[in-house]
Amino acid sequence: MRNKMPLAGLLAASLLFGMGSAQAETLRLLTWGGYAPDNVIAKFKEKYPDIDVEVTLSNNEEMIAKLRATGGAGFDLAQPSHDRIYAPQLEYNIYKPLDLSKIDTSVMEPKLLEGVRANTTIDGEVYAVPHQWGTSGLMADKSKAPDFKSWGDLCDPKYKGKTSMRLKRTILLGTAFAMGDDPFAAYADLGKYQGILDKVVDKLIACKDVIKAYWKGGDDLSAMMLSGEIVASETWDSTAYKLYGENPNIVFVPPSTGALAWIDTFVIPRKGEADDAAYKWINFVLQPEISKLMSESTGAIVAVKGGKDLLPDALKAAVNAAFTDADIDNLKFFANIPPGVEDMEGKALEKIQAATGG
């Protein structure tokens, strides 16, 4: 009871403070961990001393939930993946169209720029430009699982108790590809997609017996992999690259059906209040020397021309150990998620989570 009054006071104070700071030039950035490293912010402040940068770390789902809660207010720049823009904008109207004339698109890798543009155009307005890209795939300890190469291998009984995956949509899609379906093509026909999902659910429920545990984040995945408790897992490429630095036996394995590629973008929330600062940030971080710092921090490739060459050496080695040119050609970019698919996939995930196996 006793702490209520200070609490209310604090609330009032933070409201006032919030209002006050909105007046000044502050860039409120809603992004992923590592996407706004301190050295980049310092350099940005050097160039634009009158802009403060406030960073809130999040992930795709939470970014959209946060923006939805406020109708697109509270942040000036956000970085959801390219497949998380079209449907949320249609459903919740949380983004603002971009003024491409204020962005130096000439430095961007044209293939990625075009891809994002095609995916995020609504009524002729473009809502996103690419920033960094990477893949989701598999990793394996070569010394213990030398011929691990497909999503389906995660469920191979010979690795019983030695594999892991993250119970999110990526594994649904990967498993669908491994079973010979093309889930992205089926997005156009939700009935057909449901049929694919049903098969995937059965497969993954049967798979529960094999895996050790579902990982929840990079930390627990790394711990399981480094300690040898598991020998292979679904992974983000950046996590695998980091582990490669500590144990060169652990490599990223692009699945035989193709690694799933994502592009994290820049979008401006509908009620963003510092558009100019946002555009300045976008142009600033796409500069080559900043991109280098960015890749070092995130382990992902910046979507500028020759982005792969800007990777730090250790990372370049890890990428080269993982990908051949054929693998790169085989990348499957996440397709736009049409309305309704999240719900279907969510339900599928619930079924897998709740299944008691046996």
Binding site: I211, S227, G346, E350
Partner: protein, 304 residues
């Protein structure tokens, strides 16, 4: 009253003014509490209530209805998870009581004032660090290549690494550890109010240790037991990080389902409905507990 004031014409004005000032200061004093209740408890719940009653029929199109609640009852997955959550929460509550009661008894009746302070501090320690750090602490201890497994192998009690993490037992242990303080505080304060002579009288009149415990100490401590159990049960059923991080592939927790509704499925309407269902369900369990123990909410939670 009014008449009297009118008759006291010369002084009436100042009396009124004085009274207004007092009323105003009273209102100002209660303001933070009222604001706290309205802004942080009432309004969000009303908002969630309205949200939970919206049926989504298309993009940006909603209709008023109970579909979100009906969906819960039509899908066995949901109420299985709810039942699971309730059963494990009850188990955690019982274990917290079994572990916490002797500790409370020791603090209230046996320990000296200094030991007492130290014991309370020990109980507080789990709350000094965040949920996340606490969970990672348990992960370090329990995992296959973790501390406990290592000790078991080193002492020869186990011949191969033992996986203690990623199962319901790990969740239960982690939760009991977290909620222990909330069981101990109300129990200790109730036991503290018990006259030592009551226990001696129990022996003096011919009771053995078990009788005294069963017939005197436990019934006396009942309000504390019930209030501690209510708090612990509610906290446990509503916890998120511990069950998610320590739970295994076959563990699921209802808060996780709510989170998934909100975040993964973008389905706020059903998330809100699930939130209310959890609230109703846990309240229902608490109500049954109160009925069975013959206590009332005011005699337990309000008292401690």
């Amino acid at each position: 009253m009014v008449n009297q004031e009118r008759r006291l014409l010369p002084g009436a004005g100042s009396v009124m003014k004085h009274r207004d000032a007092r009323r105003l200061s009273l209102i100002l004093l209660f303001m933070p509490l009222a604001l706290w209740i309205v802004l942080l408890i009432l309004l969000p719940h009303i908002g969630m209530g309205i949200l939970s009653l919206r049926e989504k029929i298309g993009p940006r199109q909603y209709e008023f209805g109970l579909a979100n609640y009906i969906a819960f009852f039509q899908e066995p997955i949901y109420w299985h998870i709810m039942a699971r959550t309730a059963v494990i929460s009850l188990l955690v509550t019982v274990l917290a009581l079994i572990v916490g009661f002797p500790v409370s008894y020791y603090i209230a009746k046996i320990a000296g004032p200094r030991t007492r302070g130290a014991m309370f501090m020990f109980c507080l320690i789990p709350l000094w660090v965040s949920d996340l750090i606490r969970a990672f602490g348990w992960i370090l201890l329990l995992r296959e290549t973790g501390v406990i497994s290592g000790i078991l192998q080193w002492t020869g009690l186990a011949s191969a690494p033992v996986e203690l993490l990623y199962n319901d037992a790990a969740v239960v242990v982690g939760l009991v550890y977290t909620v222990m303080l909330f069981m101990i505080v109300p129990l200790t304060s109730t036991l503290d109010g018990m006259d030592d002579a009551m226990i001696e009288a129990g022996y003096n009149l011919g009771g053995n240790g078990l009788t005294v415990l069963r017939r005197i100490i436990i019934p006396y401590a009942m309000p504390g037991i019930v209030s501690g159990s209510i708090i612990v049960f509610m906290l446990t059923a509503g916890s998120y990080l511990t069950p998610v991080l320590l739970g295994g592939k076959y563990s699921s927790w209802f808060t996780q389902t709510i989170y998934d509704q909100f975040i993964t499925r973008y389905n706020w309407e059903s998330g809100a409905a699930f939130g209310f269902l959890l609230l109703f369900f846990t309240s229902f369990v608490v109500w049954i507990g109160l009925k069975l123990s013959g206590q009332s909410l005011s005699s337990t939670v309000a008292r401690s």
